[in-house]
């Protein structure tokens, strides 16, 4: 039933730039699976963990900020159908983390582990070659807690639930095990250009 006179404030945007089924928004909606964690920076750390949960490398806050950083401007796409264009982020790419650790990825997949217990799974090939970073600035300022600060994963070529907020580490996995939303009906990979929203898509 079409509602007379109701117009969406969000346009569909240019299909060359906006994936199918998405609407462009100027605001930055917030969505999470739990309360906003408040991790004090002096106790914050980020770790790479092996398939058996053994710690391979770890960085404290100051150490993360001292690593070579990248600043990127990207479009982000949420599975709930909003897209936000031209967002600017600064952080450390997964490539730079692996290089700093002197590591080759020991397995093809990772589970992102976050404060509050949120998890999401990713293939290493979706994180390498600059495709993924641990971001700590948004639009030139520290990321706000409700947007995932102090640091979140940023994997903009996938639906934004993969850009895990409050990330504290990546644990390598031999198989592509589903994380939180993936266990609850969402797609294992989440490519917005193939509209991989739900499992079975």
């Amino acid at each position: 039933m079409i509602t007379r006179g109701f117009k969406s404030r969000r346009p569909r945007g240019d299909p060359a730039r906006v994936p199918p089924g998405q609407y462009v928004t100027e605001d930055f909606p917030v969505l999470s699976a739990g309360p906003t964690p408040r991790a004090p920076l002096d106790r914050w750390s980020f770790a790479l963990r092996d398939v058996d949960d053994r710690e391979l490398a770890t960085w404290r806050w100051g150490e993360l900020l001292a690593l070579p950083s990248s600043t990127i401007t990207v479009d982000i796409h949420c599975v709930t159908k909003w897209s936000k264009l031209g967002t600017r982020w600064k952080g450390v790419t997964i490539d730079a983390l692996l290089e700093a650790a002197g590591l080759d990825p020991p397995a093809p997949y990772v589970m992102a582990l976050c404060d509050g217990g949120y998890t999401t799974n990713l293939a290493m090939e979706d994180l390498l070659d600059g495709r993924g970073m641990v971001a700590y600035e948004y639009e030139g300022a520290p990321i706000e807690p409700e947007h995932g600060g102090p640091a979140r994963l940023l994997v903009p070529h996938l639906y934004f639930w993969k850009s895990a907020k409050w990330v504290r580490g990546l644990m390598f996995m031999e198989d592509d095990e589903p994380g939180f939303w993936e266990t609850h009906g969402y797609h294992l990979r989440g490519d917005p250009w193939k509209e991989e929203r739900y499992s079975g898509d």
Binding site: M1, I2, T3, R4, F6, K7, S8, R10
Partner: protein, 245 residues
């Protein structure tokens, strides 16, 4: 029993304040509701875009139409449409009634401690109107917090009901600015105000707290710290600003 989407017809739109409208809807197949319940409203644009929001029912059970009292949120998606574009005769989709937890009827007894922040008064108003319609003398205290005097809704009706002398007391407090002739309270709801206005824990009141999330959580915590049992404090959060999605 399923909860289908129903097609409701707008039969009346009344302005409560410049930003607030009460929309009366005729809903074929409406099965009645309990005071405190809400409906989900769904709007569909021509390009297929849908937006859905929940609105508390302001009217008591037993009336031929249901009333939704909606505050316009400037950055909202649905409230500007409902308070600005919607016309008598239009049809909108809704489902309900929803939510059995945040409800009260006279059968539940009292005394009642009702605390509202802004549009959080809407479900509490359904309870107050139901209480009046039942000619109940269950003691009830309604404490409402508003930003300014211009934001106060249902002011005259509440004053009239409180003047009936049937154990309903109404207190308003303004949190931002007050006109020169304002003789009521002028601050955020704090511990002292709750102690002054509401029955103490010894009276074993049931408290219903509704409004923006920060206000609801603050008031609920204060009530617990005053000795009220957590099981007797029911809350309904409206989200950050009071609008619910």
């Amino acid at each position: 029993m399923s909860i289908p989407w129903l097609t409701a017809e707008v039969v009346e739109i009344a302005a409560e304040t410049p930003r607030v409208r009460t929309i009366r809807l005729a809903v074929p197949g409406w099965r009645g509701h309990l005071p405190g319940q809400h409906v989900d409203v769904r709007l569909t644009a021509e390009d297929g875009y849908q937006a859905q929001r929940s609105y508390s029912i302001a009217s008591p059970p037993g009336e031929p139409a249901i009333a939704l009292t909606v505050e316009r949120l400037d950055d909202g998606e649905v409230s500007p449409f409902l308070t600005g574009e919607l016309r008598v005769g239009d049809e909108i989709e809704l489902r309900g009634p929803l939510g059995g937890y945040f409800t009260w009827t006279v059968e539940r007894g009292g005394p009642l401690a009702l605390v509202a922040g802004g549009s959080g008064v809407v479900p509490l108003m359904a309870m107050v109107r139901h209480r009046a319609a039942q000619a109940s003398r269950i003691p009830a205290h309604l404490l409402c917090s508003w930003r300014t005097a211009e934001d106060v809704i249902f002011r005259d009706e509440l004053a009239r009901l409180a003047a009936r002398g049937d154990a309903l007391e109404v207190t308003h407090t303004l949190t931002r600015t007050a006109p020169a002739d304002w003789r009521g309270h002028t601050r955020r709801i704090d511990r002292e105000l709750l102690v002054e206005v509401l029955p103490g824990p010894g009276a074993r009141p049931t408290a219903y707290v509704c409004g923006p999330t920060p206000m609801v959580e603050s008031v609920a915590d204060l009530l617990v710290s005053l000795g009220h049992m957590p099981e007797r404090i029911l809350t309904e959060r409206f989200g950050p600003t009071g609008g619910r999605s």
